[in-house]
Symmetry: C2
Subunit: 360 residues, 2 copies
Amino acid sequence: MCAGPAAELGITVTVLAEEADGAAAQVFRSAPVGDYTDPATVVAFAQHCDVITFDHEHVPAPVLAALEELGVPMHPSPAALAYAQNKLSMRERLSDMGIPCPRWRAATSVAQVEDFGAEVGWPLIAKVPVGGYDGKGVLLARSVHEVADWLARGPVLLEERVDFERELAVLVARSPSGQAAAWPVVETVQEDGICVEVHAPAAHLDPGLAAEATAAGLRIAGELGVTGVLAVEIFQTADGFVVNELAMRPHNSGHWSMDGSVTGQFEQHLRAVLDLPLGDPRARSAVTVMANVLGGDYAELYPAYRHLMARDPGLKVHLYGKGVRPGRKIGHVNICASTYAEAHERARHAADYLQGVITE
Amino acid sequence: MCAGPAAELGITVTVLAEEADGAAAQVFRSAPVGDYTDPATVVAFAQHCDVITFDHEHVPAPVLAALEELGVPMHPSPAALAYAQNKLSMRERLSDMGIPCPRWRAATSVAQVEDFGAEVGWPLIAKVPVGGYDGKGVLLARSVHEVADWLARGPVLLEERVDFERELAVLVARSPSGQAAAWPVVETVQEDGICVEVHAPAAHLDPGLAAEATAAGLRIAGELGVTGVLAVEIFQTADGFVVNELAMRPHNSGHWSMDGSVTGQFEQHLRAVLDLPLGDPRARSAVTVMANVLGGDYAELYPAYRHLMARDPGLKVHLYGKGVRPGRKIGHVNICASTYAEAHERARHAADYLQGVITE
């Protein structure tokens, strides 16, 4: 999704691709195939780059160390990335900063799990500190038995189950020079641990809470030294908010900005990692609703896509060039409108139709 | 400029490029280099394509004939393209349709030039029917002597010099199925025969005149069988308008739409030539001003570009990946704003600064 902004800004992008016909390889002139977990491969790739950035956080430590030795600028830096890679490090650091978090504990034994369960009440949330994604490595545990397997492999992050009203996300971008910009706070709608919709800005959000959450996002970016886009996923509660997760990259909760903001998150990420001045993150429309398109039962998207373009000429379709598999995020749609009701109806219809959940 | 929309819509574009490091080759995965004037080269390229379109009209007739024989769909078709390639054919056809045109004459002799000059008054406009572009092949002739060279080579199109108030452009897109959509009528500001700015929509345009001009654009697209984007350049006069030129491709006067419209002209052109349903052409902002960036005296754009991004975070910069040469269009900027004064000041400043005309 960087391809368009990179072309317009005259920025040459080269991607270390997983497959010769993968999503990136379809849209970038230069997309050599290689194993991103192999330090020698990554160094050979990176030595021709002016700046390196990442499209996910799961870059192995030996690869980051090899890149650091090579001396090519990396944004975000490994030091910042560590907090997105390891949820325990993130909780420790945010708690030290006084950022509101759920009550949490690092447990290495059954007794510690029992203690924490007695303190915050069951069920509780258990997380593998490293490697989780989209609901994987996260568990709503009703008893200590459910986390026994994870405990055997290392420390487990335990968190109280937060009684939240809804989920929000704060997206900011920060450049190596320290300039930062925040998009409006959005609401993220989750189903089975997967984000299905984003409403930008979050409807009826108290301006004081929006300002506090935005300030927290900017402070996290600054103190952790994040460069590029930072997404802070938060729970809105009866008396404020707590931070759920961090992601250091353009994030699903920011896809609305590709059509809904003066500067979309992919343009902003490029500007940030190149230390160019940041663009205006303001919304261009009263409301933008983004709906993810998940793979459905039929693999052929084209007839649905054609139908939807005819039904709704204002629909903005974004496809990722990925094969269709049930439940896989294969694209998203954005609707900019003047009301939530209208934007939601149109975006929801399009995503459901593409997925095959509805047929008219 | 198709690269971004093509990536988002999942459309694979391959470009027959003039140079290995040319503008298209920088942003498309597939951009084989070849001579577009050689029928065999073009056929070898085209046989792997589902649809062919063109980024300018000057495609030689033998190439079009070879493509037609190959049977790959071409949009626009050679039959339509003929009216954009040959200004005499265009004048004949538009006059037959009753579309307002300047008074004109096809002259093949000095006597015919003298006659027409006596009829409409000197100076008059002389045009080489085929091959003109951006002021080339067009002359304000004060006497018959000035067109003698052209007359020796073939018929010359003569037109009265229109006493116009300003120049407008109507852009429409039309698909092979016949669906059509029109963007708001814009004002184009020319200097020395080159478009320097576009104001979208045209300020203070009488709604009746806007509707008439739009209807003329849609009718021309339909009757000439144009597919893809059609730009109709018109002169606004004291009592209406006359058509100046036609272009059958995304056009400089439509670059504002990349940021200013729900559906930009490059997305719309792709949708049209693939016979996908067309997108909403409405403006997203009260005003959008586009300013062309012409090559100036210094070749290094980066410091200026960086400065402008810092000065105006809402500036949308579009660079074409072309080398800087004085007077060459190397990019454009768009500003969406609520007033003409603001949009004009910001866009004009950015273009002048990039060009080196001003230094602060």
